[in-house]
């Protein structure tokens, strides 16, 4: 009797263990599927012209997504100008002065903001900026993406500033250096690599955002001419081409997706290795 119960318990144990392993495998299938399809279908669409030329109408062969790559780079630059200063400075506040009720509130709101759907940021900037200036623009796209960078940069900055040992602060202040100088020149330079990791992570996260850009950057078939003009971006081109009925546009969507996925995955892997090096030390 007892032996029977023990075997049954062992069988249940094995069963659960294999179910758990099975779920890991099931979850990884789509990742592998996306990478395999994007690579195999994307690589065949890619050549030099694809990288450097403008899109062509669907009935003409050729054309490229040069302006979308340019647009994505410009948008990331603009977003960084919004997201990095706000994120880093408020992160410093949380780490150095935020050990109180107000700090917890800010931390909490930042966490909650990072869970707000990106499309909401899109409508917000559409209502607040695009409708006010009466034009879609690169600038409004940059603002929408920049807002989305803030929570990530803020929390990673806080974490890495807190990791700096107090003895370093004490040593600096014992030399008579003021607190703000200690923070800016001593603490920040120690926490630098962590903050950079956070910034790269946030860039990886916004590089593929589409929904907010629909309302703001809008997309364009031309090279970027000014920040107050609509601008193209990789995710916008992927969306436009993917839902189009033309075979050569669909093929180019896979090519653009290959470039975008490569950028995002490489950023993530680099971040991973940077973070690992830091924790080992």
């Amino acid at each position: 009797m007892i032996a029977k119960r023990i075997t049954r318990r062992k069988i249940v144990d094995k069963l659960i263990a294999s179910l758990a392993l099975l779920s890991v495998i099931i979850a990884i299938i789509p990742l592998v599927g996306v990478i395999v399809f994007v690579t195999s279908k994307g690589l065949s669409a890619i050549n030099l012209e694809f990288f450097i030329s403008l899109p062509k109408p669907p009935d003409e062969i050729g054309g490229g997504i040069g302006n979308a790559i340019q647009g994505t780079l410009i948008l990331i630059g603009l977003a960084s100008m919004v997201g990095i200063p706000i994120g880093v400075l408020s992160g410093i506040y949380l780490a150095e002065f935020g050990d109180n009720k107000f700090g917890s509130l800010v931390r909490f709101i930042a966490d909650v903001l990072s869970g707000v759907p990106s499309i909401i940021m899109g409508i917000f900037v559409y209502v607040a900026v695009v409708l006010t200036t009466r034009s879609f623009s690169a600038l409004s796209g940059g603002i929408a993406l920049g807002i989305m960078m803030i929570p990530v940069i803020m929390r990673t900055t806080e974490e890495s500033v807190k990791l700096v040992p107090n003895s370093i602060r004490e040593a600096s202040m014992a030399l008579g250096i003021r607190r703000w100088k200690t923070i800016v020149f001593v603490v920040l330079s120690t926490a630098k690599s962590g903050i950079i990791t956070g910034i790269m992570l946030s860039i990886a996260r916004i590089a593929g955002e589409t929904a907010p850009l629909l309302f703001t950057a809008f997309g364009s078939d031309l090279w970027a001419t000014g920040l107050n003009q609509p601008i193209s971006a990789l995710p916008l081109v992927i969306y436009k081409y993917a839902i189009s009925p033309y075979a050569n546009w669909q093929a180019q969507a896979w090519g653009a997706a290959f470039i975008l996925v490569s950028i995002v995955l490489i950023l993530n892997i680099v971040v991973r290795f940077m973070a690992r090096g830091r924790y080992r030390r």
């Binding site: 890991v24 150095e96 909401i120 409508i123 003021r178 703000w180 589409t210």
Partner: protein
């Protein structure tokens, strides 16, 4: 206590105060930026609220229960979109929760130590793939598979239920739910794993000492304690599913209807905003779209606040237990 606290005490001489002027400027500068994050959250709410006034005044609460969406006759009801968003998210949860819990259990309790970090990294990468790329893959790879294999299969074994009847397009509610499930698995599994790792080892050791098998340890010592946090993780995943836009737009069919069949096309709240705002030239049309956005904002905000509170409270409880 920070090392410099004596400098910030109540009693300071004039010289020290002067010396510290730079400090207070710096502190206030960072404070302003921290405040701007709070201001941003309020501003988002205010902008959406004031821009949807027109529609709120016109339709009132009836907006939530009206089934018609007819821009030509200026009749706007959000019900089909609320239905689409909620149903597709529920399908996603039904698929994603068991798989995510399996992943979390495997990664926190069962996997060999060497595999632990590469496997969690791969699951995290799932979250890094842009939504529009999932949409592209979903439209050209997953939808044909659903149309040719999954839907005929479901119909043959569960066809007596109204959920699995009807024309098999591939594109539809089912496809939307599945793509959402793929996208929320990383969120739910990562947070649940973190919560399970936070359960003190003494709990596990006690259960093992009583002769429990690994599964029994997970059941009595880990899952029971991590329950609240896991619930929080599921809510975070739900919040993500409710607001997800691009991948769903590309596979769900975008037709404002309420149908029992999961094979039929549907339309989500985020979907209607993204695909119709450009046609919304009349004030009322745009205002109705923004009101849908406001609803979505409030729902996801509530989800997130509630979920974070649960996860936070649990983590704090364990930190207390560990010390």
């Amino acid at each position: 206590m920070p090392p410099s606290s004596f400098l910030f005490g109540k009693k300071r001489s004039k010289r020290i105060r002067k010396f510290l002027a730079g400090d207070s400027i710096f502190k206030n500068l960072t404070l302003i930026f921290a405040l701007s994050v709070l201001a941003l959250a309020l501003l988002i709410f205010y902008e959406l609220y004031s821009r949807s006034q027109l529609s709120i005044n016109e339709f009132g609460l009836g907006f939530l229960t009206e089934i018609k969406w007819d821009p030509v006759h200026q009749i706007f009801g959000a019900l089909p979109f609320i239905f689409g968003t909620v149903t597709s998210s529920i399908i996603a949860l039904i698929i994603a929760v068991p798989i995510s819990l399996g992943i979390a259990i495997y990664l926190s309790e069962l996997s060999p130590r060497r595999l632990r970090s590469p496997l969690s990294f791969m699951v995290e990468l799932l979250a890094a793939v842009p939504s529009v790329v999932y949409g592209l893959w979903g439209l050209y790879v997953m939808v044909p598979w659903i149309r040719d294999s999954l839907e005929p299969f479901l119909e043959s074994i569960l066809g007596f239920l109204p959920f699995f009847q009807g024309p098999k397009f591939g594109i539809g509610m089912l496809a939307g739910g599945i793509i959402l499930a793929i996208m929320i698995i990383p969120t739910i599994s990562a947070v649940s794993r973190e919560v399970m790792l936070a359960v003190p080892d003494t709990q596990r050791e006690a259960a093992f000492a009583l002769g429990a098998t690994r599964w029994e340890v997970i059941k009595i010592a880990v899952l029971k304690y991590a329950k609240t946090g896991i619930f929080g993780a599921i809510l975070l995943g739900l919040g993500r599913a409710l607001g997800e836009t691009m991948a769903v737009i590309m596979v769900i069919g975008n037709r404002p209807q309420i149908s029992l069949s999961l094979f039929e096309p549907a339309y989500t709240m985020s979907g209607v905003i993204a695909s119709e705002y450009i046609e919304a030239t009349q004030e009322l049309y745009l205002s109705a779209l923004i009101e849908i956005g406001l609803l979505l904002f409030i729902i996801t905000l509530m989800m997130n606040i509630f979920a974070r509170l649960l996860v936070w409270r649990m983590m704090r409880m364990f930190r207390g237990a560990k010390e």
